[in-house]
């Protein structure tokens, strides 16, 4: 076994990170640093992290669902719905901010719970259920907000999005905390191991006595709740409950998860890897913005990267299984 493949294997086994994605991140950053004089600065670094925070939380949700052999296309819409729900509770109802925060998480979790129920009880494929929820949640967000953004959020909520304790943006702190908890949950607990086993072989999981359907419902609910958290972060940051928030975000989130080494068909996933994937997407978008590339092209870049990431992943899987 060559030195390179040994290091590769160790990084996957010990750190749960695909070495290639880390190299891509470093290389991409180096290219951006050469192309733009503004790239290498602390404020731009924090900018990238801040812009990555929402996508990062969604990508964590995508990692759990895809790792378990499922799919959640409704992430972006549920995020939009959750943000509107929180803003509605805080502004239109005038309830205390803590209720608004809960409303975001609960709205997201509820949407995810419905996804899970439909996938496991109605036997509609996850692809269709969450595609339907993509439309349902977006429509409901527009209904609740009557098609307009809800302004005038209380300062506590705005602090969640714009506050900077010790100079670090709050969304970044919350993303890091969420990622740490999610990483421990996925890599070190029975829940996480069963999640990956389930995505690997549903038959093996069932034979081992894992309550497969129950487990899937929890994962979809968790995914929705995380989308709710992302909605809260976004709403607080832009200081408005925007019903069109998060359109196409599921595309970026799923791409980040796949780049991070999540197997599209389940069984292999790592939150640390996904964070690297999210940073790659963040650096890509930030760099293209600094280079004054139109945002339409950025959209195209994300789509191309998704296809490329899956291609490389599947290529490697085929190469390994040939040995």
């Amino acid at each position: 076994m060559s030195f390179w493949s040994r290091v590769q294997r160790a990084s996957v086994e010990r750190l749960h990170i695909r070495l290639e994605s880390l190299l891509v991140l470093v290389a991409l950053s180096a290219v951006m640093a050469v192309l733009s004089p503004y790239f290498l600065s602390l404020s731009n670094f924090l900018n990238i992290l801040l812009a990555t925070s929402t996508i990062g939380v969604l990508a964590i949700a995508a990692t759990f669902v895809i790792g378990s052999g499922g799919l959640d296309l409704s992430l972006g819409s549920v995020m939009g719905l959750a943000g509107v729900a929180g803003a509605f509770v805080a502004v239109n109802l005038g309830w205390p901010s803590v209720f608004a925060v809960c409303a975001c998480i609960i709205a997201g979790g509820l949407a995810g719970y419905i996804n899970g129920q439909l996938v496991t009880r109605a036997f509609v494929p996850a692809f269709i259920v969450t595609l339907g929820m993509l439309g349902l949640a977006r429509g409901l967000a527009l209904v609740i907000s009557q098609g307009r953004a809800i302004y005038g959020l209380p300062p506590e909520i705005v602090y969640i999005g714009q506050g900077r304790p010790f100079g670090v943006p709050m969304p970044v702190i919350l993303l890091v905390l969420t990622a740490i908890v999610a990483h421990c949950l996925l890599a070190y607990t029975r829940f996480g191991r069963h999640t990956l086993a389930l995505g690997d072989s549903e038959g093996a999981a069932r034979a081992a006595g894992i309550r497969v359907e129950h487990h899937r419902r929890i994962i979809y609910t968790l995914s929705g709740a995380l989308a709710g958290l992302a909605g809260l972060l976004f709403t607080a940051r832009v200081n408005a409950g925007d019903p069109t928030a998060g359109i196409n975000y599921e595309l970026t989130a799923i791409t980040a998860a796949i780049i991070g080494g999540t197997n599209l068909f389940g069984g292999r996933a790592s939150i640390l890897g996904t964070m690297i994937g999210a940073l790659i997407m963040g650096v890509l978008q930030n760099g293209l913005t600094l280079l004054a590339v139109q945002s339409y092209y950025q959209q195209m870049a994300i789509g191309a990267v998704l296809i490329l990431a899956v291609f490389i992943d599947q290529y490697q899987v085929r190469k390994e299984s040939r040995v």
């Binding site: 086994e13 070190y188 607990t189 829940f191 069963h194 690997d200 072989s201 006595g209 069984g267």
Partner: protein, 258 residues
């Protein structure tokens, strides 16, 4: 000591009678070969032993205890394990994860937060289990899917062993294996026998069955057609009982060569 006794087991699915009163007994530490043509009822019979199917009539006793009303989980607790042909392994997970899937040992993180998998303990026990089988695997930290068929079979057997079984039922364990690997799986079966564990081996590979079993039970049209002592029979007789009379020398010669 008789471990398992089946008497007059009947099972039908709708209008199709699959088992017409099968009798079978297994001694502790005995290796039984269960052979028969496709559709003879081998799988159905095994699933009535593990409890996945409920027999329509007849009795099943394990160590003198009637286990007919018990569900598969309860029967497993009493010591009946089955290893399916697809092995039910999670191919992208490592050896220890597969052996302990669903029963991972846990510890408290910093002595406070429960539910964390004790990976070190799991690896240690998994390595011990593989060693107990006298088997060699490239690394217990590699994903099972990167192993050969025989090595995967080893993992499946190691997993079964952690349930402290009295009886292990193996469905075609050598069917898809390379020639050299067949021997190591047969060695594993002998190892189980030496530990006092009874094995029911379902196989189409009659050479393997003749090599490793104490007795051969031939199932034909849902009945136990023959009960042969392996040491006192030969390929010709086994093939004759499977296909049911006629000139079987050509078929037997073919099996002999295979």
């Amino acid at each position: 000591m008789t471990l398992l006794t089946l008497q007059g087991i009947r099972k039908s699915f709708g209008a199709v009678d699959v088992l017409h009163g099968v009798d079978l007994s297994v001694e502790a530490g005995e290796v039984i070969g269960l052979v028969g043509d496709n559709g003879a009822g081998k799988s159905t019979l095994m699933k009535t032993i593990t409890g996945i199917y409920r027999a329509d009539a007849g009795s099943i006793e394990l160590g003198g205890r009637d286990i007919l009303p018990l569900d598969p989980g309860q029967r497993r607790e009493l010591g009946i394990e089955m290893i399916y042909q697809d092995l039910s392994l999670a191919k992208q997970q490592d050896v220890a994860a597969n052996i302990f899937l669903g029963r991972e040992p846990t510890k408290k993180l910093f002595g406070l937060i429960p539910g964390f998998v004790d990976k070190a303990e799991m690896d240690r026990q998994a390595a011990k289990m593989i060693e107990r089988l006298g088997a060699h695997l490239p690394s217990i930290n590699r994903s099972v899917g990167s192993f050969s068929g025989g090595q995967q079979q080893t993992v499946a057997i190691a997993r079964a062993l952690t349930f402290n079984p009295k009886l292990v039922i193996m469905d075609e364990p050598t069917a898809a294996l390379a020639v050299r690997e067949v021997q190591s799986v047969l060695d594993l079966i002998r190892r189980l026998k030496s530990e006092g564990i009874a094995v029911i081996l379902i196989s189409h590979r009659l050479n393997d069955v003749l090599a490793v079993t104490d007795r051969i039970v031939v199932l034909r049209h849902g009945r136990a057609e023959a009960n042969l002592v392996t040491a006192k029979t030969n390929m010709n007789e086994v093939v004759g009982r499977i296909v049911g009379g006629g000139d079987t020398s050509a078929a037997a010669a073919h099996e002999q060569r295979g």
